[in-house]
Amino acid sequence: MRISNRAIYRNINFHLSNLTEQLKNIQERIATERRINKPSDDPIGTTQALRLRKVLSQIDQYGKNIEGGSSWLKVTDTALDAIGQLVSRAKEIASLMSTGGTSESEREAAVRSVQGLLDQLVQIGNTKLNGRYIFSGYRDDTPAYTDDLTIRSSSADPGNNPAYTGQATSSGTYTGLYGKQYVVEITTGGAVGVARYRVSENGGETWGPADAFETSTSPTEVYNSTDLGVRIAFTDSGTLTPGDRFFIEVSRYQGDSEKIRIVTGASSRVEMNLTGTEVFGQAGSDLFDVLTELKNALETNDTAGVRACLSPLVQFQSNLTGYRGEVGNRLERMETYKKILSDFDLQHTNRLDEITGVDLSQLAVLLQLKQTLYESALYSASRILSLNSTDLLR
């Protein structure tokens, strides 16, 4: 084949610039420690790497969620432990005082102790983590328990008849000693002023006489046996139907019964909180009521009353053990998740490294090889270019 001088120059240029580019690519890979420096270097690897990075960032997020959940559960556990000790103490006092023959001063000391336990219980109930009340359900910005019993605003039965479009509002000053769950049930239908209702004081277990009270736009009585100052007022709008129910809770609890869930995986949500109702019991029979009862029984030297407090306290104690077990289980599950996640994290990081990372020693050898090639190409080019027939032909 004829070789023209132009071809020699072009060839030298073409191949030298090719080698230069390869050198540059190898150098780039070494400098960035990445095999893929732009998507076209390996499109499939790029998309795999993107997916892996997404998974890794999710794992990171799940890890954070679990970390948060774990500390929540640990705080819950500490609180449950404190409540347990408190209940034991109350039980001790109750059993000590239930035998009778105790002196006035002993009883007074016991009353003070129980009052102290009640105050302590409110404090434990209002345990906070990062500014959130852990026993308040979704109302984590509100303390779970107040020092005194409060009449909560009334709420309508979810299955309530929509014919009544007004609202029932609770009011009054509570004069009772214990929590109560009042239910107002319409027994005679009609507009406000015509309709009449009956009342339950224990969430609908037992009822007062039907048609005991007339609905009114001004606050009217709500009670079954004793008037403890709870009132209800209806706004005049629409018709009330027999069976319509309105609930008024008198309790120390200000939270709700919602469960806060955290994300621990792509499709796994874990309940994190225990609500006040779960731990401390329903209004009317919650731990506060039991302790109040104990206190009152001690004040009135009612030994039978004191003894009666023992069995609910034992019940609470076993409930608490159950909840502590539950919390322990959840914590253990969190630990397991954490371990699985860290395994996952390691696997995915390794995969990502395999896909995007470089083998430095291999690259160093390759670089050496290309460098040698480049140098020999330069050398041979200089030899060829210096060949000149004009020096030889004369």
């Binding site: 084949m1 004829r2 070789i3 023209s4 001088n5 132009r6 071809a7 120059y9 072009r10 060839n11 073409f14 960035t32 990445r34 893929i36 420096n37 732009k38 998507p39 076209s40 270097d41 390996d42 499109p43 499939i44 790029t46 998309t47 790497a49 993107l50 997916r51 990075r53 997404k54 960032s57 999710q58 990171d60 997020q61 954070k64 969620n65 948060g68 959940g69 990062n130 500014g131 959130r132 308040s136 359900g137 979704y138 109302r139 984590d140 910005d141 709700d256 919602e258 806060i260 869930r261 955290i262 994300v263 792509a266 949500r269 909180n273 995007t356 000149n388 027939s389 004009t390 032909l393």
Partner: protein, 483 residues
């Protein structure tokens, strides 16, 4: 007439012919590095024989013609492949730039902004009432929208750069076709006498190669030596001494003052590459980015609209603009065109972290259900259109069911595949053109060694001819000395 004077004549002629041959050789040597130069050769012929008393006596040499060592096949193939090569070249540089802009190689592009956006929702779900978490979410969302707008603006800028390139490319093309017509005229005039206008042809070939860098063309040489140039689709650019201009008119391109848009009839070369980029590749990425941004806006806003803020209100949007979506009727806007360029935080939440709707119902700052619902978008497949743009046909789309993250991953993957395809195409065409050039140079290129040998050959012939003249001189002198 035979005899010494005849010999003298033959030798005079021979010396002139050898000098001319040396001239051709020196022309070759002088042009050893001239781009597009085709090696020339002097064709020698013996003069017609003189019949002298039944004896046929030769009458010496003459210079018949100077020919070019021209390889028509290699030259035409090079023209074609040059178009393909420069098309790849123009696309390669843009694709390299695009990949750098998307910057997904180290995971610091839109993917990361998206991840951080989702993570911020995750953090918020762990503390739905937290102002810090809310503020961080707004910051991350702002970064995400900025990332979208940055990408979109880069694409727009790149598109307008392509328009600028096209205007310049067409201007260059018009200048080149005009120059070809000039040379056509000169070559026809020069070759009318039967000689070949070698150097003019070289110039013309160089110009035609430049034209084929701009767009794919076909050439046809007519008998009178002029060349006809048409686009690959058969649209005339040069016919004899007439050239036809291509003029940009807005986005359109018009032929020779015609009003019809002939963009679809241009392919290959830089112009074809720029047209592909401006009218298909870039708009497709913009449309798909719009789709991603629009779907993100719609999906997040729909959930956010129905969620409850810290102060218990509903009906707040998270992202702007609201592209004609009806969140209550769950009707997304008919088109998301321009969404990626406009996406921003809505006025509802911008600077008001309390207005982020993390809850599903009022009455509890610990309610994280809406934050969880929005977070589920990260792993939930949604219906999302994928657009395909092709030059010469209307954009089409198909609905796919993908997560937003996967959709973007797919876009990056497509970008990588296109980039790889173009890189490989470029590598192939570049080495092909190099080989073809080598092939052509093996015929048309100048080899200095060869020329040196030729030079010596002609020199020796010249010296020999002078020697013959010297002998004739001696012979004549001998004759003169006869007394």
């Amino acid at each position: 007439m035979a005899g010494i004077s005849s010999v003298l004549n033959i030798m005079r002629e021979a010396m002139m012919v050898q000098q001319m041959a040396i001239q051709v050789t020196s022309h070759n040597i002088a042009n050893v590095d001239t781009p597009g130069y085709t090696r020339q050769m002097m064709v020698l012929e013996s003069n017609p024989v003189l019949l002298n008393n039944r004896l046929k006596v030769g009458l010496g040499v003459k210079a018949a013609v100077v020919v070019q060592a021209f390889d028509r096949f290699a030259t035409q193939t090079i023209q074609q492949r040059t178009s393909a090569l420069s098309e790849f070249e123009s696309k390669k540089s843009v694709l390299d730039f695009l990949q750098a802009v998307f910057n997904e190689a180290d995971g610091s592009g839109l993917t990361q902004s998206l991840q951080e956006f989702w993570s911020a929702w995750g953090d918020l779900s762990n503390n739905p009432g937290g102002l810090l978490e809310r503020t961080i979410l707004l910051t991350k969302a702002t970064t995400l929208t900025e990332r979208f707008r940055f990408l979109y603006n880069q694409l727009i800028q790149m598109k307008s750069e392509m328009s600028g390139n096209l205007r310049q490319g067409l201007q260059e093309l018009n200048t080149l076709t005009e120059q070809v017509t000039n040379l056509n005229g000169k070559i026809v005039a020069a070759e009318a006498g039967g000689t070949r206008a070698n150097d003019l042809r070289d110039q013309r070939n160089t110009l035609i190669e430049k034209i084929s860098e701009l767009t794919a063309i076909r050439t046809l040489e007519t008998d009178d030596g002029s060349i006809m140039v048409t686009t690959a689709s058969g649209m005339a650019l040069v016919d004899g001494i007439q050239s036809f201009s291509l003029v940009p008119q807005g986005e359109e391109i018009h032929w020779n003052g015609d009003t019809a848009d002939i963009r679809d009839r241009l392919s290959g070369g830089k112009i074809g590459g720029w047209l592909d980029l401006r009218d298909a590749i870039l708009p497709q990425y913009m449309a798909n980015l719009d789709e991603l941004a629009g779907t993100l806006i719609y999906q997040v806003n729909q959930l956010h609209f129905n969620g409850v803020t810290l102060d218990g209100s509903t009906g707040k949007t998270f992202f702007a603009p609201n592209p004609g979506d009806d969140y209550e009727a769950e009707v997304p806007g008919p088109t998301f065109s321009g969404a990626a360029g406009a996406i921003a935080l809505s006025a509802d939440v911008e600077g008001i972290p309390q207005n982020i709707a993390a809850s599903s119902a009022s009455g509890g700052s610990g309610n994280n259900e809406n934050a969880l619902a929005i977070l589920s978008l990260q792993d939930g497949a949604v219906d999302i259109r994928k657009w395909t743009y092709e030059r010469g046909s209307a954009p089409s789309s198909e609905v796919q069911s993908l997560t937003l993250d996967d959709y973007y991953t797919m876009l990056v993957g497509d970008l990588g595949l296109l980039g790889e395809e173009i890189d490989q195409g470029w590598d192939f065409e570049a080495s092909l053109v190099n080989q073809l050039n080598e092939l052509r140079d093996s015929i048309s290129g100048v080899n200095l060694d060869e020329e040196m040998v030729n030079l010596m050959k002609y020199q020796q012939a010249f010296v020999a001819a002078s020697k013959v003249i010297a002998i004739c001189d001696e012979l004549l002198r001998g004759l003169m000395e006869i007394r």
